[in-house]
Symmetry: C2
Subunit: 212 residues, 2 copies
Amino acid sequence: MSETTAKKTTTTGRNKPRGSYAKSSSKRAAIMEAALAVFAKDGYRGGSLRDVAMNVGMSEAGLLHHFPSKTALLAGVLDLRDQRSLEMVPLDSDRAHDTLRGLVALARYNASVPGVVELYCTLSAEATSADHPAHAYFVERYASTIEKITHAFALCAKLGTLRGGVRPDGAARATVALMDGLQVQWLLDRDSVDMAEDLESFLREIVDLDAA
Amino acid sequence: MSETTAKKTTTTGRNKPRGSYAKSSSKRAAIMEAALAVFAKDGYRGGSLRDVAMNVGMSEAGLLHHFPSKTALLAGVLDLRDQRSLEMVPLDSDRAHDTLRGLVALARYNASVPGVVELYCTLSAEATSADHPAHAYFVERYASTIEKITHAFALCAKLGTLRGGVRPDGAARATVALMDGLQVQWLLDRDSVDMAEDLESFLREIVDLDAA
DNA sequence: GTCTATATGGCGATAGAC
DNA sequence: GTCTATCGCCATATAGAC
């Protein structure tokens, strides 16, 4: 999925000796930003390269110089979004309560970037089709996310902060499902839904969030 | 499930004389069935009338004789699905526990009709865009569904079967969100998710399902 | 690196014969 | 009621000039 072969091109991108990738990285970023907005609004299948190109002030052919195909552009956008959200939630932390609180923080942050929420909402739905370009990406992503949150709940159980009778894996699936479902409701009517609040209420029903 | 029995349908108000309409109703049903499958797989924007026509064994022009536009076809499909699911869940019952148990039954039933689940999942996501033909439909549908489930939880509170500290409206939003989110996970990996079981576990955490 | 021009094909919808 | 034929538009992608 990733096209960044070099390890340290993300921030500076100046020290890349060969290849013209570093020089164009700012354009690439601008394109991905525009693509995110377009795919968020119309979905991947519904969104057009024409729209993306217009939003970033280029021709379609110019755009396709940076990303050889629409699918490659989608991969870039998903990578971009992953980089950012992984910075927000310490999914691999061994401090389980930090992980869960991170999810609430993510929900709160998401309410400030509706475009990203729309992108994931629309894309995860249309990618349920087995022949969608991002199908494998989402299958893998959900499996790994749920696995990590299951681990967090299991740690809570060890600490004695998980409510009795609650199974870690079921709780993890429910947590992710709740976040996803609340996003749809929030997108449809932003005034009557507070994603972070509803998520926190749910978590507090099954775990002592303030402990540890 | 012929439509000749209905005198006045809400969205498609056809007042045609009985003769020709009754004869074509079976074709209409076949078209909607095929459209449901196509829209479920590729979404409304991604799915094509060409595909629908081919699936039902007609030309595009022949199809457009029954539904004058793609949007009209979408409305027909949504009507069809609503008719069926309203028969499953007694949303307006004053026996709150029947309503909640009905939701679990619906989740169980949904696992047997993946096409319908895909349709709603994909469609509700892409309809979050304000200019989508089904946007108003989904806004209204979510509001009314959540209102009714809120009512059910409020009844539980009166009966004393709702867990202390749980707010009916938050519980209703969470219930609907959970059902939606579980559908995405189930579509992505059907073997590792049991929608009905996870929903029931959630409900049992906040309400005494077996009472009354 | 970006452009114009174009190839190639799918889309929704219409017109009119039968 | 269903068809063939066609229109006009938009899509992704390529070729080659600058």
